[in-house]
């Protein structure tokens, strides 16, 4: 009985070791797994499959990826992106950009196949972190669209594979921003319908728009309250308090704006958003000292409507 139990515990230990080692293996090689994109059968859309590629150096990596693009996908659902008739005659890789020269036959593809091949090649290559841009040549000349305009550099961002995700990633929303007038001592309220990326916190979007200045609002009389060099390091909301962390450039006063006006443009903008009552401002993560001249940072600021003109 005891020996049987020992036998089972040994088996279990062996299993555990096997699982752990396989996990470790997977994690170590994760950077070598790339998605290879290719057109779906019938050129209906783009699909991808994961392949492991062992890199040696940068240019080998590019050619390895291009090589993978010529292979048949493992299931029958797709067609290789680069077929033998459009095999690139030359590939240049320098300064994070890849230039691929295709033969004349590239132009014979119909527009759907062409766009799918282009998207597959660009999306596959730009996964490699040393490739930022890809441009296509045909017989040494830059690829042009049907209107004769040069297409030029393409990035990972140039192609949208999924309309749903794309449509969903932006939303139009109403944001209240406070800028100042020409005197710099009063706040002016602007309610604007703005489009923002839903992956971003609305607080961050509002503050960045505020820093970006009044071009967000179609008003001639609006003037910025904060230096355009200001960087918002972080903004979080907890217990109805917004914690906004700026870099030191927020202290700069490039315009003749009162300290109060500048500070309350931040506070009022944030408290206009739902779920925020108070604002704690910090500079480089610290709440010691003052905002610009005298307004203390270690204080929770509430909305101030008296400054609004």
């Amino acid at each position: 009985m005891r020996s049987l139990r020992r036998f089972f515990s040994i088996i279990a230990a062996a299993f555990a070791a096997l699982i752990m080692s396989s996990c470790g293996h997977g994690e170590g090689d994760r950077t070598d797994v790339y998605k290879i994109f290719f057109p779906e059968e019938g050129y209906a859309s783009i699909i991808s499959e994961e392949r492991t590629i062992l890199p040696e150096n940068s240019s080998d990596m590019v050619s390895a990826l291009l090589n993978e693009l010529e292979k048949e996908p493992s299931d029958d659902k797709g067609i290789p992106s680069i077929t033998s008739d459009i095999k690139p005659s030359r590939v240049d890789f320098k300064e994070n950009g890849v230039q691929i020269d295709f033969p004349e036959a590239y132009l014979d593809m119909d527009r759907t196949r062409e766009i799918l091949v282009r998207a597959s090649v660009v999306e596959t290559l730009t996964q490699y972190d040393k490739v930022q841009r890809v441009s296509f040549l045909v017989n040494g000349e830059e690829l042009k669209d049907s209107a004769g305009v040069v297409i030029g550099d393409m990035t990972a961002d140039s192609f949208i594979n999924n309309t749903g995700v794309e449509l969903n990633s932006y939303e139009r929303t109403n944001v209240t921003l406070y800028f100042t007038d020409i005197g710099g001592s009063a706040l002016k309220r602007y309610d604007e319908d703005l489009v923002y990326n839903t992956n971003m916190a609305i607080e961050k979007f509002a503050l960045e728009t505020l820093i970006g200045g009044p071009q967000a609002v179609n008003e001639q009389e609006a003037f910025p309250t904060l230096s355009p060099d200001t960087k918002l390091l972080q903004v979080t909301v907890k217990d109805r308090i917004a914690y906004a962390n700026f870099d030191t450039s927020v202290k700069e006063e490039p315009y003749s704006v009162d300290e109060e006006t500048a500070l309350y443009s931040i506070v009022n903008t944030l408290t206009s958003l739902p779920g925020i009552d108070k604002v704690q401002i910090s500079i480089e993560g610290s709440t010691e000292g003052v905002f610009m001249d005298h307004m203390k940072l270690d204080e929770l600021y509430e909305r101030n409507d008296d400054l609004i003109n």
Binding site: T112, A147, I160, L167, R172
Partner: protein, 485 residues
């Protein structure tokens, strides 16, 4: 664990209750349809509103697409009229519009975010190549996505595609409001049904409570009032009560019979004792004055009474033994019935002579049957004894034996006083006397016919009496020749 089981048991008990079941059935019948109706209505509204929205946005998109096709928007996207139209539509549906050219490039985005990018999604590609409208829904993010081709009306060629998204928040909000209202109605219905169900459960079963009460009152002690309780509310309760009353009257009959029997037994046992008491008392009172002759006479009388007492007790015992409910053993053996009857006649001839009665025996055919001779001869002897005793001087007793294929038939007829018609069904009852006034002088225990009947029934036979008062009585006994027939 124990608590769990107790609770389970209680639950089972609750579930087995008819009241609870009626309650549950009414409740479910009331609530389930309203629940289903709510789901169907809300779902129906949602799908209808959604398809309406889809066709609305698709139509609007097609109109805009047709407009785009008529202008040269694809070479110059700064046309303010069209841009206004796009923005208006985008605002109207709280969504976003993308215009895509035939190179799959986005040339206009009402959000201004994706201009210049290429769109290679399946919807756009199939729309461009298949030139048909596409629509899809995103339940999670609450929007519709419509893709329509922009077609050249004259050539049928494709200029590009228009992708429009429309928020379905309005529909979802409406669904939510509708659902909330429906839930309120549902809760109200549920409460009303709950009240109705509990009211029905208690009123419908109230007659059964009456039945239970009636039965309970009997359990606790017989209540003569129970006889009058009727529960006419339902056929079922009426039937139950009828059956119950039937049972009760049967019980009462049995009870009465037993009481009578006990009274009879005590009375019969007391009678000889009382005689002995009187006789012995007079001897004691007489003291020495009583002469030996009187002494002897009295002692003979006492001895006679003791015999009588003894006979009654023996008869009672044999009656108990013969009681068919106790299924005493029968010593069945093939016997010659003629021989048995002749022996009985011989035994009783002195008694008949003393009573000045002619005892006649007739035998049609000799009969042999499987019988327990001791018990059956006792039974027939009782019949013959009675025929002699309850006769008149110079009368006759005729015993005949006959048989058919299955049965032996013994008739015992007499020319005696006869039995009145109203008594003929009670003569087999224990201690029953037709004429109580004569019983003392005739003697007997009052158990003879009861014993006879029991013995015959044990043989699976039958006994029948027919009589005319003043002319005589005939007892007919039928005994199967073989018990296994």
């Amino acid at each position: 664990m124990k608590i769990f089981f107790t609770r389970l048991l209680q639950n089972v008990r609750l579930y087995r209750s008819l009241r609870f079941r009626i309650f549950l059935i009414v409740l479910l019948i009331g609530i389930i349809p309203s629940f289903i109706m709510r789901i169907l209505m809300v779902r129906g509204y949602e799908s209808r509103a959604m398809s309406q929205k889809i066709s609305e946005v698709t139509n609007q998109s097609a109109i805009v697409a047709a407009h785009l096709a008529r202008t040269d928007y694809f070479s110059d996207t700064s046309d303010p009229v069209i841009n206004d139209e796009l923005i208006q539509m985008s605002n109207l549906y709280d969504g976003r519009i993308l215009v895509i050219n035939d190179a799959y490039q986005i040339i206009k985005d009402t959000y201004g975010k994706s201009q210049g990018r290429y769109i290679v999604s399946g919807e756009v590609i199939s729309c461009m190549n298949g030139s048909r409208n596409m629509s899809s829904q995103d339940e999670e993010n609450r929007y519709l996505e419509i893709t329509v081709p922009i077609l050249d009306e004259s050539t049928g060629g494709v200029y590009g595609a228009l992708v429009a998204s429309a928020s379905t928040d309005g529909i979802h909000d409406n669904v939510e409001i509708m659902n909330r209202r429906a839930v309120v109605v549902e809760v109200v219905i549920a409460l009303v049904v709950l009240i109705i169900a509990s009211a029905l459960a208690s009123t419908l079963l109230r007659p059964f409570d009456k039945v239970i009460k009636a039965v309970d009152s009997v359990k606790e002690g017989f209540d003569p009032g129970v006889r009058d309780i009727e529960v006419p509310d339902y056929t079922e309760t009426r039937d139950i009560m009828e059956a119950f009353h039937h049972l009760m009257s049967r019980m009462k009959e049995v009870d009465d019979t037993r009481d009578e029997f006990v009274a009879n037994v005590s009375h019969e046992l007391k009678t000889p004792l009382a005689s002995m008491k009187v006789l012995s008392d007079s001897l004691i009172q007489g003291g020495d004055a009583v002469d030996a002759g009187t002494y002897r006479e009295f002692m003979l009388d006492i001895a006679e009474e003791v015999d009588r007492e003894n006979r009654i007790i023996n008869n009672l015992l044999s009656l108990v033994k013969l009681d068919k409910n106790r299924s005493p053993e029968l010593n069945l053996e093939p016997r010659d019935l003629s021989k048995m009857l002749r022996q009985l006649v011989k035994t009783l001839t002195p008694l008949a002579k003393e009573a000045e009665v002619d005892l006649i025996y007739e035998e049609k055919i000799p009969v042999e049957a499987e019988i327990d001779e001791t018990k059956l001869s006792l039974a027939i002897m009782n019949l013959m004894e009675n025929a002699i005793k309850y006769n008149k001087k110079g009368g006759w007793v005729r015993v005949t034996l006959d048989a058919d294929m299955q049965f032996a038939v013994i008739n015992v007829s007499d020319s005696g006083m006869g039995i009145p018609e109203e008594s003929i069904n009670r003569i087999y009852d224990r201690f029953y006397r037709v004429d109580k006034s004569h019983s003392r002088e005739i003697g007997g225990t009052g158990l003879g016919l009861a014993i006879t009947r029991n013995a015959i029934l044990l043989h699976r036979g039958a006994i029948k009496a027919s009589s005319i008062v003043g002319e005589g009585t005939t007892f007919t006994v039928k005994i199967p020749l073989r018990m296994d027939i």
